[in-house]
């Protein structure tokens, strides 16, 4: 829902990193995106195409490594992926769980020329 603000920050970040490295053109951006953030990758892609026009990042290809929700049962320590419909531990049915992954939102690397 807030992909526009996220994409504006993304663009600023990659332009700054490329400029620090003395790169003239950004050809790719590798992003790690957790499911818990609620950020939709193709909205970011569409926003990026618009916002990056006439910048060194114009035409850069965004690649997303999507990280699903991850949880660990507090009762039996079983690691599992909660689905949209089921958050209890599939092994012991406990609903006492700890969220261990899926909130990532960072740039892993950029490809520059």
């Amino acid at each position: 829902m807030h992909e526009m603000s996220v994409t504006m920050s993304l663009l600023d970040l990659v332009l700054e990193e490329a400029s620090k490295a003395g790169a003239g053109k950004i050809t790719g951006v590798n992003i790690v995106l957790g499911e818990m953030t609620g950020i939709i990758d193709h909205y970011v892609q569409a926003n990026f195409e618009l916002l990056s026009q006439n910048t060194p990042a114009e035409g850069a290809e965004l690649s997303f490594q999507n990280i699903p929700r991850q949880a660990r049962c507090r009762n039996c320590a079983h690691p599992f992926q909660p689905t949209d419909f089921e958050w209890a531990c599939p092994k012991c049915q406990s609903s006492e769980i700890e969220i261990t992954g899926g909130s990532e939102l960072y740039v892993e690397s950029i490809e520059v020329e």
């Binding site: 829902m1 807030h2 603000s5 950020i39 958050w87 006492e96 969220i99 740039v107």
Partner: protein
């Protein structure tokens, strides 16, 4: 050529949030980011808290809304220092909006600063404002199934306020089901069933707020 970056996409926001946090700490202010759906009772909770703590703490409010100054006016009429931020359409507050608001508040005369985020259970969860605590409010007509529908926000809460308990007999909200779902994904958080209408539960909530203020003062004398 590949350049390693390994930086949070919201890095710029997080840096301003850290500045806010430092400024607030230097002024000994405890900031609470209040997040909820529209209409769950954020402003009412603030008004009730001001009443409950009137001899104990000086409270000010940053009001975030897409548009209007209705809430800030309501608070000002009740004698509360309040400043309105209109996001002009954005679905959340960010750290720079809060930074500008802080520049217009009498920071030497504030103990507790409530930041009422834009009513929304999704986007506010992505943006650090530099607050000390995040508190989520859910009102009973919204339903007891919300923790699993909006997990990000519910896992971030240091406390959860269930408002409108006076409507429990009418709205089919099962407090036990809700508590099981919420505590399942967030064991540490405190839970306060309250009614902004009758004042039920406000005293306990107020005590928790004051306990946190004392803790913060011990950490940062």
């Amino acid at each position: 050529m590949e350049i390693k970056v390994l930086k949070d996409i919201l890095n710029a926001n997080n840096q301003i949030a850290d500045q806010n946090r430092q400024l607030l700490a230097s002024k000994h202010i405890m900031a609470i980011n209040l997040m909820s759906s529209p209409g769950s009772g954020k402003t009412t909770l603030v008004l009730r808290t001001v009443e409950a703590l009137q001899d104990k703490a000086r409270i000010a409010v940053i009001e975030g809304d897409v548009s209007s100054s209705i809430d800030a006016e309501t608070l000002s009429q009740a004698g509360v220092t309040a400043i309105q931020i209109n996001t002009g359409g954005a679905c959340h507050l960010d750290a720079s909006m809060v930074n500008s608001a802080l520049a217009n508040l009498p920071l030497d005369d504030i103990d507790i600063l409530f930041i009422e985020n834009v009513g929304n259970l999704i986007c506010p969860g992505g943006f650090d404002l530099g607050e000390y605590l995040k508190v989520v409010i859910l009102s009973t007509p919204e339903g007891d199934d919300k923790p699993h529908k909006y997990p990000l926000l519910f896992t971030q809460a240091k406390a959860l306020v269930v408002n409108k308990t006076d409507l429990l007999p009418y709205v089919g909200f099962d407090l036990e089901t809700f508590t099981r779902a919420f505590k399942g994904i967030n064991q540490q958080a405190a839970l306060f069933p309250i009614s902004g209408l009758t004042g039920e539960g406000i005293a306990e909530w107020g005590e928790w707020v004051m306990d946190n203020l004392q803790k913060l003062r011990k950490l940062n004398p």
